[in-house]
Amino acid sequence: MSEDFEPRIIGFLCNWCSYAGADAAGTSRLPYPPNIRIVRVMCSGRVSPELVLRTFREGADGVLVLGCHIGDCHYTDGNHRTAKRIPILRKLLSYVGIEPERLRLEWVSSSEAQRFAQVVSEFTETVRRLGPLELKGGA
């Protein structure tokens, strides 16, 4: 792994909680790594497994899914599905040789600017340690 590897991270953020949390981090001038590219989605439950897989295929080294805390979902239970889907997808990634740590799910509310910055920083470091995602190996 080269020293100057900068991970490419895609963050899927729920419109109602986590995106507002990211916004709050910005207006509060909280620093966080610029590696994350944020995609606003209406609900973390909208992040299908095929969307995550395609994101990896398009060159992401890590995918971060942020949604409302359980109980706070704008759509009542959209994040319930995320809570079950992402762990299963992580299992599948590990079965085909992709580090499951490259996919992370966290709950970040609109008031948790600090938490947002911390999660993004931690995740960026995790992916940096893992190195670039190589999908070509062994074929």
Partner: protein
């Protein structure tokens, strides 16, 4: 009387009961088997057992095209579990079906490894012990790099015949993600990694009842059931859900509620 004679007798009994318009079973054909609807009074001498073929989707088709019909159907353990999962998703009306349960033999289980090779109610045959999926257990011993090398090699063989999906008793969506250009580009062979087979694997969670038909039908011999078996074990551990075990259990990925 051998197992096949017993099955014919059981089918005859159901046909003669006057409760059903026909019995869906397998018929010997050109050295193989095909699904066939036997009517009351039909000669049952070509009713067959093997090679096995999943009947739930055929019965779904028959029940849909004949909304008043009541049918009998020969079910192995996997067929019965398949019907239960289909019923949960309103694909089949179990009240219109009379099940004729068939237990698999040890030889059949060796060919098609399964942890529960018998239905809840057995009309023909005797329950034998299920077996674990040896290849799935072996995956755990591989490193991540070895796993990726293995699966990339396997998936590279795929020429997208869609046999795994078409034969699956749990694949009944009107619009299939595997045909959506956004996720699996058309005209690209083999399908890019990671897409096709991983999407399909995820979509089997909470549904796959372990009939192995996908793998048996794959002309490229991709050991698909390794992934499905591992995910089925995960769903069991994470959500306590076993597809096909009961009509009451709710499929974890489609209902609200977190544990």
């Amino acid at each position: 009387m051998d197992r096949l004679d017993l099955l014919r007798e059981a089918a005859r009994k159901v046909l003669d009961s006057g409760q059903v318009e026909g019995v869906l079973a397998l018929r010997a054909d050109h050295g193989g088997t095909v699904p066939h609807l036997f009517h009351p009074g039909d000669d049952l001498s070509d009713l067959a057992l093997w090679p096995k073929f999943p009947l739930p989707r055929t019965v779904d088709m028959l029940l849909s095209s004949h909304p008043e019909a009541r049918l009998g159907i020969v079910v192995r353990g996997c067929d019965e579990r398949g019907l239960i999962e289909m019923a949960k998703r309103h694909q089949v009306d179990l009240a219109r079906l009379t099940l004729i349960g068939l237990a698999c033999t040890a030889e059949e289980v060796a060919y098609c490894p399964c942890t529960r090779p018998y239905p809840n109610e057995i009309a023909v045959g005797e329950a034998v012990e299920g077996v674990e999926h040896v290849l799935a257990a072996e995956q755990a011993r591989l490193s991540l790099a070895e796993r990726m090398a293995f699966w990339r090699r396997q998936f590279a063989k795929c020429f997208k015949c869609y046999g795994c999906r078409n034969v699956c008793p749990q694949c009944f969506c009107e619009q299939c993600t595997l045909e959506d250009d956004l996720w699996v580009e058309r005209g690209v062979l083999a399908p890019p990694f990671p897409s096709f087979h991983l999407i399909r694997a995820l979509h089997t969670v909470g549904k796959c009842i372990g009939c192995h038909e996908c793998e048996l039908s794959c002309p490229a011999d991709i050991p698909l059931t390794i992934l499905y078996t591992l995910l089925r074990q995960d769903a069991q551990e994470m959500f306590g859900y076993e597809p096909g075990a009961s009509l009451e259990d709710k499929p974890p990925l489609v209902v609200a509620g977190v544990t």
